[in-house]
Each structure stands twice: as C-alpha cells, then as structure tokens.
C-alpha cells in the first residue's frame, strides 16, 4: 500500500513539475507587465511538436530539442512585438482576451502544420530506476531536473540580478523605472522570452511521457495558471510548490478516488483559492499592498 502511495507521489511530482514550469513562465510575464498569458501552454505544444518534426526530418534528438526550445523562445518574442506591444492601454482583462486569441491561432496553425494526432518524442537518455518497488522513469527525472535548472535559473535571475530586479520594478512603478533608465520595451521582451523558454522546456521534457498535440496546450496552460494562482501570481517559490502540489493531488485523486475526476482537481482548487485565500500560498504578505 505504501509502495502505491510512493508510486503515485512520484508520478504526481513529475506531472507537477510541468505545471510548475508553466506557472514560472506565467509569473515571469505577470510580474513585469500584469499580463495573464493564456497562450503559455501553447509554447509547450509548439516546442514538443516542433521537436518531433525536426526529429522526423532526421535531426538528432538533443539538437532538435535545443532548436525547438530556442525557436519557441523567438516565437514568444514575436508575439510580444507583433501583438502585445501594439496595444496602447493594456489591462489584465484585455491581455486575457488577446492571448486567448493568440492561443487559438497557434492551435489552428499547429493543426494545419502537423495534423491532429498526438505524438511523443523518444525518451531522453537514461534508464528507469527501481527503488524498493517504486519504479521511476528516467524521463520523470528529466522533468524534475528541468524544473530545478530552468525554474531555479529564472528565480535567481529575477531575485538576484540587477536586470531581473529592474524587470520587476517596471511592473511596480513603470514611470519611475523609466526615469531611472530601465527600458519597458526591453523588459517586456525579456519577460516573454523567459515565458517562452519555460513553456518550451516543459513541452519537450514532458513529450515522451505525456505526448504533444495541437490541442493539449490550453488545458496544460490553465493548470499552470492554477499553480500560478497558488503563488498569488507573484511568487515563483509558492507557484513551484503549488504546481507540485497540484500534480500530486491529481495523482492521488486518480489513484484513490476515480481517474475521471483528475482534471477537475485543478479547477476545484482554483475556485477554493479565489474564495478563501486570493493571495495564494504566499505567507509573508504585506497588507499595505492595495
């Protein structure tokens, strides 16, 4: 029985690491521009399908993955330049409708380019581990590793580097940030690039287990959004914890209640959090922030 629990936990953590990475991408943008990017999950689908296409064309897996991730990062920047930057008076509400449009457009393009079938990349290097009856797939370690490296990297960048801090300043005090010489254009581009990178990495590392499809991104992105909400849309740390918790909870519900309820978990949590604790899991919260 305890073995089953650990097995479910392992599966939940790896699934959760995908949500967490997507949440990191969402917060990367929200904390700079107060934009909720509904197309975040599409970055994952795009990278997964792009890498599949490159592999099918004969490119080695590792190279295909890198090229796909970088390309999607460029796509994210292009979306910022061509769509987001064109809007004069951006509000969070407008951003949601706008990025929902972008999401639909990207889905249609992927459907046209790569067809409707869901497919998966070959598993990355490594062999499966068996720990006292709990089997852990090597790909799950790649997924957790990607969260640690990319998610951790983004966290350090925003919190420890001057440029990262400057990005956040743009959201808090746009005018003051400009006065002291921080370019809001550059800040916005950087935020979208980071979001594209996070989404793309999540997409390629999860593709061997969870497959990539043209239509899978929206649900994935919304689950990432739930994880981000657990982080109050501002805290990377709380969002990562939220993503992992969401993954585990889904796994337990599927295992101990009914697998049919799995996708409902995220939205139940979303509603619960918005009613009871809109600030998410963030503990140190200044009441003065109005």
């Amino acid at each position: 029985m305890f073995t089953d629990f650990l097995q479910l936990t392992a599966a939940g953590l790896s699934q959760g690491s995908v949500y967490a990475l997507l949440a990191v991408g969402l917060i990367a943008i929200y904390s700079v521009r107060h934009i909720v990017n509904i197309a975040q999950g599409e970055f994952a689908s795009l990278a997964g399908l792009g890498a599949l296409w490159l592999v099918a064309a004969g490119m080695p897996l590792a190279l295909a993955v890198v090229v796909a991730v970088l390309s999607v990062t460029v796509v994210a920047i292009a979306i910022e330049r061509l769509v987001i930057a064109r809007v004069k008076n951006m509000t969070t509400l407008i951003s949601i409708i706008l990025t929902l449009g972008v999401s639909t457009l990207l889905q249609a393009l992927m459907l046209l380019l790569w067809g409707p079938e869901a497919r998966g990349l070959p598993a990355f290097a490594g062999s499966n581990i068996d720990l006292a009856g709990v089997s852990i797939r090597s790909q799950e370690l790649w997924m957790l590793g990607a969260l640690v490296v990319v998610g951790g990297g983004v966290l350090l960048f925003y919190e420890k580097t001057r440029f990262g801090k400057a990005l956040r300043a743009c959201a808090e005090q746009p005018v003051a940030a400009r006065i002291v010489g921080i370019s809001p254009v550059l800040a916005s581009i950087a935020a979208f690039a980071i979001a594209g990178l996070c989404g793309a990495v999540a997409g390629v590392v999860s593709s061997p287990i969870f497959l990539s499809s043209w239509s899978g991104g929206l649900l994935l992105g919304l689950k990432g959004f739930v994880a981000a909400v657990l982080g109050g849309l501002v805290s990377f740390r709380a969002a990562v914890v939220g993503g992992l918790l969401l993954g585990m909870l889904e796994s337990y519900v599927a295992g101990y209640v009914d697998s049919g309820f799995r996708d409902g978990v995220a939205f139940f949590i979303l509603i619960l959090v918005l009613i009871v604790r809109p600030a998410g899991l963030v503990i140190r919260r200044a009441e003065a922030r109005v």
Binding site: I96, E117, W214, S251, G255, S259
Partner: protein
C-alpha cells in the same frame, strides 16, 4: 483590499471560462442542392478527425476520400455521381449529433457513415433512427446496433473480441484477469461481459480500472493493477491512450501478460507504447498481418489491393480503422447499386447483404444481426519489434 481581490478574481474567472471556449466548429464538407432521384447520391460521414479519436478518424477520412474519387472516376453508381460530405465531430458526442443533423437537414444525405468511436456513434443513432436514414457506424461496441432498425456497423463486435481473448487465456491456464478499460462508450459494459463470459471458462475478473481516452498519466490505474491478484491483464482502449497505458504498465514493473483489444489495430500503437508493446496479444482484423496470411485466405486479395492503393495515395500504411471505413463504404455502394436511394429499400438491401468480402471480415448481415461479423473475422496478433505478427488465425 477589497478592490485588489476583485481585480484579481475577475481575470482568473475569465481564464477558467476560456476552457469552455476551446470548442470551436470546423466543417470540412460543403453543401449543395437537394437529394432527388436524378442528382448525385449523397453520403455523409461523421468522423473523429480531431480530438482523442484522431488516430482512428484520419485514416478513415483518407480511405473514404480515396474510394469516393475512385468510384466517381469510373463513372459513379449507374451514371450518378456520389457526393461524399465529411464532417469532423471533434471526438465529441454533441459534435456528432450536430453534424448528423446538419447532414440530414441541410445536405439531405441518402446514407450516413460514422462515427469513429462508440460514444459519438451512439449519439448519431437516435437521429438516424428518427429520420429513417441508414447509418453505418465504424465503431466497435455492440450497443450501437443492438435492437436498431436503421443502424449497422462494420467493426468487429466487442463480445467476439472478448471471446477470443478469454479463449486464449483459458488455453494458457489463466484463472484470474484484471481489466483497465476506456471510460467512454467503447469500454462501457466490458467488465460485465468479461465476468459473464469468463464464468464458462473458469476465469474470474478480479479488478477493474478505467481511464479517459484523453489521459496521459496512467500511474494510478497501473499501480492498482500491480496490486491486483491476477494472472493476466486486459487493457481495453484505443491509441494513443491504450499505448500509453501499456507503457506505464511495463514501466511500473509489472510482468504479467497483457491482452489488448482491437482498438490498437494500427502502427500508432507502437509510437505510444514503444518497446513495452512486445508480447502484447490482441485480437484484430487481418489487415496488419496481411503479408503473413495463409495463401488460401479469402480476404487476402481484397486487403492487399487496399493496402497498395492507400500507400500509393497517402505514402503511409493504412490501419484497421481505415479498413472499417472501407467496409462501410463498400456495403453502402453495393446497396445503392441494387436499391437506389429509397431509404427503406436501401436498409432492406443492406440487411440482405451476405458473403461480402471486406477488410475487417466477410459480412453476413441479417434483420437480427446488424454487425455482420463473427469471431472468424478476428485473428490473434502478437506485438514484436514494433509491428503486429500473426499468432493464430
């Protein structure tokens, strides 16, 4: 504080709503004219082209388009052109119902084909019955045609598939089986059938788990099957989900033998399952093992011709699902040739179709049997090195 809560809650609520907006329609067909005795014969197809059934719907769509073109190039039916209108139900029940209604009311089709999966087919059934239009489903569950007047099907029945699985299990001396099944129409009632049919063979069903066809993680179900007391496991679903379930099953370290259903009768199963497919036994039609059939097999020539045509047209191998569409088309065309477009005559002619050699089997329809195939339509195939191999005819 209040304002900040609200400002935050509104976008969040809208983001949640976005989920509901994903279903946006796309019609692949055109529409024209009315269906009189002189104009073109109209066949409407409702297939799972996008969504979870895509692995089934796409080869079906390809097959129908190919056959329609071929038929019209050779002069149609009695000089009448056959117009094929294909609609995508997006693998949903309401999509199938909507498309069926459109095909009947707007396009005035003479006959319907579809849908790719059991759930959407069951959604089409009452509409076809009410409007008295013959419907040929390409999905499996026997409930699609049970007691129906106007609905036929070309995929092998689930009960004959279970029969083949349980016979083989009995031969191998298995006493207990566990089941992981598709949570939608295709897997409905499978557990009961296994329990009932297993009784005569001394086989007991010890555990049942279910999974959504859209699921990607199967750890929960497979962990439970691992702890279940069973000699063999039956996974009942379609690709890719059944392939992913297979993969999870192996990766979680269970080594009990696995049976799968005819829902995995395509190459995509191996894309999803990879090496973990090795050793899986599945009853299916003869298509995927056509090169290994005995020389006197009655279906071999028909199947080979279809495989060659399909490869030449689309550059890829067909699946057994394309085969179901091929059979539906041929049953329809044969009936149109004899009966014209009068619905009653058309239905009676399909009911009297016997000895029609198809891809999925040799069809013998009757008033009582609207599925037309028995257990002889199935062979047992075993998965090895990324392909299906003939095990037992």
């Amino acid at each position: 504080m209040k304002w900040s809560r609200l400002r935050f809650a509104i976008p969040a609520a809208i983001a949640t709503l976005a989920l509901g907006l994903t279903a946006c329609g796309s019609n692949l067909g055109g529409d024209s004219g009315s269906g009189d005795e002189e104009g073109p014969i109209k066949i409407g197809a409702v297939l799972d082209i996008t969504g979870v059934g895509a692995n089934l719907g796409v080869p079906e769509q390809n097959t129908l388009k190919m056959l329609a073109k071929k038929l019209n190039d050779s002069g149609g039916i009695d000089g009448r052109e056959v117009e094929l209108i294909i609609k995508d139900n997006q693998s949903t029940e309401d999509g199938a119902a909507k498309a069926t209604t459109q095909l009947i009311q707007d396009d005035k089709v003479n006959l319907l084909i579809g849908a790719s999966r059991t759930g959407p087919s069951l959604a089409m059934r009452p509409i076809a019955e009410q409007n008295k239009i013959p419907l040929i489903s390409v999905a499996a569950n026997a409930s699609i045609v049970e007691g129906s007047e106007w609905v036929f099907k070309t995929a092998q029945n689930d009960n004959v598939v279970i029969e083949r699985i349980l016979d083989d299990a009995q031969d191998k001396g298995y006493k207990k089986v566990a089941l992981a099944r598709d949570a939608t129409g295709f897997g409905e009632g499978i557990a009961d059938q296994i329990t009932a049919m297993g009784k005569d063979r001394g086989i007991e069903l010890t555990a049942t788990e279910s999974f959504e066809p859209s699921a990607t993680d199967f750890t929960a179900q497979m962990t439970k099957l691992r702890s279940a007391d069973a000699d063999a496991v039956i996974i009942w679903g379609i690709t890719p989900s059944a392939g992913l379930a297979q993969k999870a099953y192996k990766q979680i370290g269970v080594d009990k033998p696995v049976y799968q259903s005819h829902g995995v009768g395509n190459k995509e199963f191996f894309d999803a399952a990879g090496d973990s497919a090795d050793g899986v036994i599945a009853p299916m039609g003869r298509l995927l093992v056509v090169d290994q059939l005995p020389a006197d097999d009655k279906q071999a020539d028909v199947i080979k011709a279809y495989v060659d045509d399909y490869k030449a047209e689309f550059g890829s191998d067909p699946s057994t699902f394309g085969g179901h569409a091929y059979d539906a088309w041929n049953v329809a065309v044969e009936a149109f040739k004899k009966a014209g477009t009068d619905p009653e005559k058309l239905r009676d002619t399909i009911e009297s179709t016997t000895g029609l050699v198809g891809i999925s089997g040799i069809f013998n329809f009757s008033k009582e049997d609207h599925s037309g195939l028995d257990a002889s339509a199935l062979i047992l195939a075993v998965a090895k090195n990324g392909r299906w191999n003939l095990d037992k005819v």
